[in-house]
């Protein structure tokens, strides 16, 4: 589903760079990306979502070579990804259901199909009752659930989550993490960057640990070889 082959990314600032990173995430796997700030976790997610291009090496996502995508194909790639951030990135002047519907509208889904899919996504994250609420009327955990509903609504095979629980209290963290686990149980690959080692220890999901731009630990033991 996702394959990094000898990927190097350099920045003029030096932080967040990657050095010769190779790994493969098969369909349906849950993977933690761990490591200190600036170790390269977010860079990996940015490379997967084509917000960045690798300096060298190859990134393949869902059969597409991200590096060689034309400007017209990047949106197609992003529609196969659901992306969730620490700061939610919701539009404040839209209600929860409008935020979720937005992801369908911009991708040209026929209008009559939208309400049903929005309701389904909001139900899945447990927020059917808050469809008409604005982000500022919701707790952090609820806002993150709306963001996850937005990520889910296009039925992507991959969810990228960059510190999704970073801004949440313990209870909300548990809820959001459980939600991601449920989504993964449905067959969706989840790549989650996190600082929260408690979450990592709680489960037996694969862990990729980054240090200064290199993978220093892969719980699957043979990085880049396993599950080929």
């Amino acid at each position: 589903m996702i394959r990094f082959a000898r990927v190097t990314k350099t920045y003029s600032s030096g932080t967040g760079a990657l050095r010769d990173v190779s790994f493969h995430v098969p369909k349906g796997q849950f993977v933690f990306l761990t490591g200190h700030s600036g170790a390269g976790k977010s860079t990996i997610l940015s490379l997967i979502s084509a917000h960045e291009a690798p300096t060298s090496g190859e990134v393949r996502v869902a059969g597409l070579n991200v590096h060689t995508l034309g400007a017209g194909e990047v949106p197609k790639l992003r529609r196969r990804l659901g992306i969730v951030f620490q700061d939610f990135r919701l539009l404040e002047y839209r209600t929860a259901e409008e935020n979720v519907a937005f992801a369908l509208e911009v991708t040209g889904v026929p209008e009559r199909m939208i309400p049903g899919r929005v309701t389904r996504a909001l139900t899945q994250v447990g927020l059917a009752g808050k469809a008409r609420a604005y982000p500022h009327e919701m707790s952090g955990g609820e806002q993150q659930r709306v963001a996850i509903a937005r990520a889910l609504v296009n039925d992507p095979p991959i969810i990228l989550a960059d510190e999704p629980t970073g801004n949440l209290d313990e209870r909300a963290t548990k809820g959001v993490f459980q939600l991601l686990r449920d989504i993964n149980a449905g067959g969706t690959s989840v790549i989650m960057a996190t600082h929260n080692l408690d979450l990592v220890r709680e489960t037996h999901y694969r862990v990729l640990e980054l240090k200064q731009g290199e993978i220093v630990y892969d719980s699957a033991d043979e990085p880049g070889e396993e599950d080929l």
């Binding site: 979502s49 949106p75 992003r78 990135r89 539009l91 937005f102 992801a103 911009v106 296009n154």
Partner: protein, 289 residues
């Protein structure tokens, strides 16, 4: 399309201040430009009015037979430069002199014989109301044996020529400067709108919106603001024009406002500016992020 329209309305509703400000900025930029063109338009029409007075007068020798004059008149009327030829007889010349030259009325009253010659007054077509063309006509007229003298006020026609040429250049340069300032103002205003919505653009890209999709509401919004600004500018121009005319007294000078076509042009120019301004600033933004 419905979605795009909804987005635009939402944007106007969400940021009424910024939207009004950008419409106002476009309106004022176009207003100053419009006002300038209005002044320029009236200046030109005043110059054209002066140019209408450019005429060539050929004085006839005493005793020229009427048939020769008639033939020559027809001949001259066929010159490409000539609009009309009027024969002024000796008697008509005297009658006119008595009316127009009041200071000499008494002198003209007691004349035993009429000292004034008959003449042909030749008016030129608009493009030929220049010193050069009038001179060429005069030279040709001088070739007729019964024409004693040809006059067309060479000096003032030449001066008029110079003023008109200068006015054209000055108007073009200043007009261009005004238009450029308008374009820059509108560009900055629209850029502000784009930056203000940078977050929204980022989210649109995140969920897989194509650049064309992201662009379209901005383009419509820019065009709409440009159109509104253009119409507002026209209203402001009309208000200043009316106030000026009332203050001046309408009978004194015949002032003109824009024609219907020119008004459409101005509204269209505003729309185009809004559209192009948006296209450039959104394009730049999309490339940068």
């Amino acid at each position: 399309m419905r979605l795009v329209t909804r987005e635009v309305l939402l944007s106007f509703r969400r940021t009424p201040l910024l939207s009004s400000l950008s419409v106002a900025a476009i309106a004022f930029a176009l207003f100053t430009t419009g006002l300038y063109f209005l002044v320029s338009l009236n200046f030109r029409s005043a110059l054209e009015g002066l140019a209408e007075r450019v005429e060539v007068v050929a004085f006839l020798m005493r005793g020229t037979p009427a048939e020769s004059v008639t033939l020559a008149s027809q001949d001259i009327a066929a010159f490409p430069e000539v609009e009309s030829v009027d024969f002024v007889s000796e008697d008509q010349a005297l009658a006119r002199a008595r009316v127009e030259l009041e200071e000499f009325r008494e002198a003209y009253q007691d004349l035993a014989t009429n000292p004034l010659p008959a003449s042909l007054e030749i008016r030129l077509k608009p493009p030929y109301r220049t010193a050069e063309a009038a001179g060429a006509v005069a030279d040709r007229l001088a070739g007729y044996p019964f024409i004693s003298d040809v006059r067309f006020g060479r000096d003032w026609v030449q001066r008029l020529d110079r003023i008109r040429r200068l006015a054209t250049v000055v108007q073009l340069v200043i007009g261009l400067a005004f238009a450029l300032v308008a374009v820059a103002t509108i560009g900055v205003t629209i850029r502000l709108t784009v930056l203000q919505r940078a977050r929204e653009i980022a989210i649109m890209r995140l969920v897989g919106a194509t650049n064309a999709f992201i662009r379209s509401p901005f383009l419509l919004e820019g065009a709409l603001k440009g159109l509104l600004g253009g119409v507002l500018a026209l209203l402001l121009c009309w208000a200043s024009f009316s106030a000026f005319r009332t203050g001046l007294g309408a009978e004194l000078v015949d002032l003109q406002f824009f024609s219907g076509g020119e008004m459409l042009l101005m509204a269209g120019f505003g729309t185009l500016l809004g559209l192009v301004g948006s296209l450039l600033s959104v394009g730049r933004h999309l490339k940068a992020v």
